[in-house]
Symmetry: C2
Subunit: 494 residues, 2 copies
């Protein structure tokens, strides 16, 4: 969920000045158009960890736009008046009217998150509140509102660094309170709770945009551009009917992401590989025979560019398993029978029972990769798929499954090398087809889709493991190790 | 919720035979078209109380249609295989493919309802399950499925009568088991739990259709026609994109409904009226001063045809209250400020704090009455409003409010008499406008909209009280009495 916000985004001062100049002009124009049209309000939520720059970014938005048509609502503890009415009453009262932008600093999400961390709310109560929030936001969007939800993220270390930096600067020292430091102690709890909250409320009609809070320039541009894009898109669309339109995937503002941040040069010597492979295969063997695994199951999904080494990695896993225990499900085009069902059906049918393992060689993520890129489904379809997939994996986890997803990343040179090698070697020739060459032309589209996918579906309970796959040995060991560690952690909980 | 299913629907044998002949031909044609098109599946849920004729109706559907393209799934306790996988797995496995009709007898709703009645599930757990079910159904509809959910209802007495009748007939005696009789003991619990389940899962994309189970002919025709209408509507709509289309309000098959079933001749003599009025006003006065009311609030909404006597009834309530304690909110066309907000905003702003009363003279139901009829909002807008209104009232109740809604029903003659009277009496002349005469022309449309409204938004926690309003005395006393009794019941819980 937060992976993309930890890849070290940074915008230098000069670039920022240039981009800012264009951005603020365009924002002002869009804000005026919004006001003159007077047809829909903008509801902007700024949430996130302490010290991630919520206040600074709100100030910047005020600098960039006409403050007379902005309103910011900060919510402290509810007043008596508010406590005596339904939970949502205070937020209803604060909604911006059509034509205006209302910024919610601390929104309807703040109290549930705080209360859950303090264990004043059970998980069930939290989920009920989130359900209520989802219905509320759905109603807002159906009523025409443009809802943008930002979550400002910092890594654990990053939070401390930032708080210290803020404290040193007399202009920002006041932002850091004793409470800020106290809250760093519950960083892990916050990540846990926020991860869950964001997953459940990451709806097609009001998705979360997670922003790396470390660098002021990057953060401000990211928010400003996302706001501008969403505003422009809505202003240009026909306005009559109020319909829920899922906002598009927000464009990136630099080229750093979970994939480009990888160090693909990582590799093992043959000796290292042999040693590590034996070690983790042994570990997996014993874990799969552990008594406690009889009450668990394991679901692994493999995705990656062609020739990234999925098959080889899968074989290194199955070698360590009892053949009666696992099933490999290769996913190609759906059969007639499968085509007559919802797209998730063909994966549901292969869900393992307890004590068993299912390995999907390509998976339900085809919906947001190949189907998205080739236009096999509509934009609305793949946009809603992120939430449906998260729900699906959530149900697997609730039923005791350990769920892991692997994205195997190679670079284009390595892919070419492997393609050529396959064409040369007789017995590997069947592996390379015209389609592989065609897909190669769509490299950038696949990379972008993969980044979106990882951002929107990597959850605490069913994480993506992004694997530097140029070296086959390194790849296989990293995967085996991740499987063992996740399995071990799950069994220890039982 | 269940009011409409207790008004005594009955179709005589001759009418049934005639209608059946037409219906089965049309159903068969539609089923064939569905199969040939092969573009979407039909998911038909048949649920409800024991003895309400679920089995009989399913048999009838098999008679009427081609059984080769029907499948019926009955679910008993989950098998080992099923228990070891996520809750929804067994239902996924049973989904009908495109072009087919799958009948679920006992569906994903059965286990949560049974477990909740047995208190094996908390209210929170139930709500989480319902949330999961709603997402699942939303996904099905987005994937193109036509989802029809029927709930067969019987009154408490009606259930016993039917079970005895079934037992007597050797052809149906086998349907009545010991368990059926045992379950009659938990009738009230079932109504409670089912009322909640149906409210929460009565979504715009897959609403419940509640069917009176008493009369076989009525019940079978009701289901058959609803299925036919929905099928025809889907077959005629353009099929390309898979989009969630809310099914239309199902047409009635006879003229009995919660309004036509009323006995409007009920009235009080002047003496009875004085006595009863004094009695209930006194009761309301003391209830409103009850210490426990300081932690409660009261929200009353009045709707009805023009000149039905809303104002007079409201005055008889406020007379018994401290003027500082209540607020009357007359709802006319929205102000500019209100128009710039979601339609529910102008009601949220008037929500009473604890110890207070808000009386809405016309209300949020305008959305599904005048706005629906006059076309002030789109069909999609008023269709989703039922669920949004239920959510809104649910939040009020959760915050401690007692919520009651009154529909004041007069007949057309009485309305005409009152209109003329108003035109004659000087000080009442302002009350009658051109618009009133115009609305009168739309009498039938308003009556139909009111029935739909009551069916879809009368819940256990925020019920509609339908008032026979031809006699003003009777009207006012019935309303006062309902307010007192609901308030009393709520205060006794505390």
């Amino acid at each position: 969920m937060f992976e993309s916000a930890e890849v070290g985004h940074f915008i230098d001062k000069k670039t920022f000045r240039q981009e800012e100049e264009v951005l603020r002009k365009e924002l002002l124009t869009a804000q005026n158009a919004l006001r003159e049209l007077g047809k829909f309000p903008v509801v902007l939520l700024i949430s996130g960890v302490d010290g991630a720059g919520k206040g600074e970014t709100i100030s910047t938005l005020y600098e960039w736009m006409d403050p007379r048509y902005l309103s910011t609502l900060a919510f402290a503890d509810p007043s008596d008046e508010e406590r005596e009415r339904p939970y949502m009453w205070r937020y209803w009262r604060a909604l911006p009217p059509k034509g205006r932008i209302g910024i919610f600093s601390g929104s309807w999400y703040s109290i549930p998150i705080t209360q859950r961390i303090a264990r004043e709310m059970t998980r069930g109560e939290l989920d009920n509140r989130l359900d209520q929030i989802n219905r509320f936001e759905s109603m807002l969007v159906n009523e025409g509102a443009l809802v943008l939800k930002f979550w400002f993220h910092l890594s654990k270390e990053g939070q401390k660094v930032r708080l210290k930096k803020l404290e040193k600067d007399p202009r920002t020292a006041w932002r850091v309170t004793k409470l800020s430091w106290e809250r760093t102690k519950t960083y892990d709890d916050l990540q846990d709770v926020a991860g869950h909250v964001l997953r459940v409320s990451n709806t097609a009609w009001a998705p979360w945009i997670i922003v790396d809070g470390t660098d002021d320039n990057y953060r401000n541009l990211r928010v400003g551009k996302a706001l501008l894009d969403a505003l422009k898109q809505r202003l240009e669309s026909p306005m009559g009917q109020s319909v829920a339109v899922a906002p598009p995937i927000t464009p990136r503002i630099d080229d750093r992401n979970v994939i480009t941040a990888l160090d693909l040069s990582q590799s093992f010597t043959a000796k290292e590989y042999d040693r590590e492979l034996a070690k983790w295969q042994g570990r997996l063997l014993s874990l799969s025979r552990d008594k406690r695994f009889a009450k668990r199951s394991l679901v692994l999904a493999f995705e990656g560019m062609d020739a990234a080494g999925k098959g080889g990695a899968i074989r290194r896993i199955t070698t360590a398993l009892d053949p009666r225990q696992y099933q490999i499900v290769p996913i190609a085009a759906p059969s007639d029978e499968e085509r007559a069902q919802p797209y998730l059906w063909r994966f549901w049918r292969h869900i393992p029972r307890q004590g068993r393992v299912t390995i999907f060689d390509r998976s339900w993520y085809g919906r947001v990769l190949v189907e998205r890129i080739e236009g096999f489904c509509s934009e609305a379809d793949w946009l809603r798929a992120y939430a449906e997939i998260n729900d699906f994996e959530h149900e697997l986890v609730e039923a005791g499954a350990v769920v892991l997803k692997f994205w195997l990343q190679i670079d284009q040179e390595e892919q070419l090398r492997r393609f050529k090698e396959r064409e040369e070697i007789e017995h590997k020739r069947f592996k390379i087809t015209e389609e592989d060459w065609r897909n190669r032309d769509k490299w950038d589209a696949y990379q972008a889709a993969a980044v979106d996918m990882i951002d929107r579906t990597s959850t605490g309970q069913a994480p993506w493991v992004v694997v530097e796959a140029n070296d086959k040995g390194f790849t296989r060991v990293k995967i085996l190790k991740a499987v063992c560690q996740s399995l071990e952690a799950a069994l220890e909980q039982d």
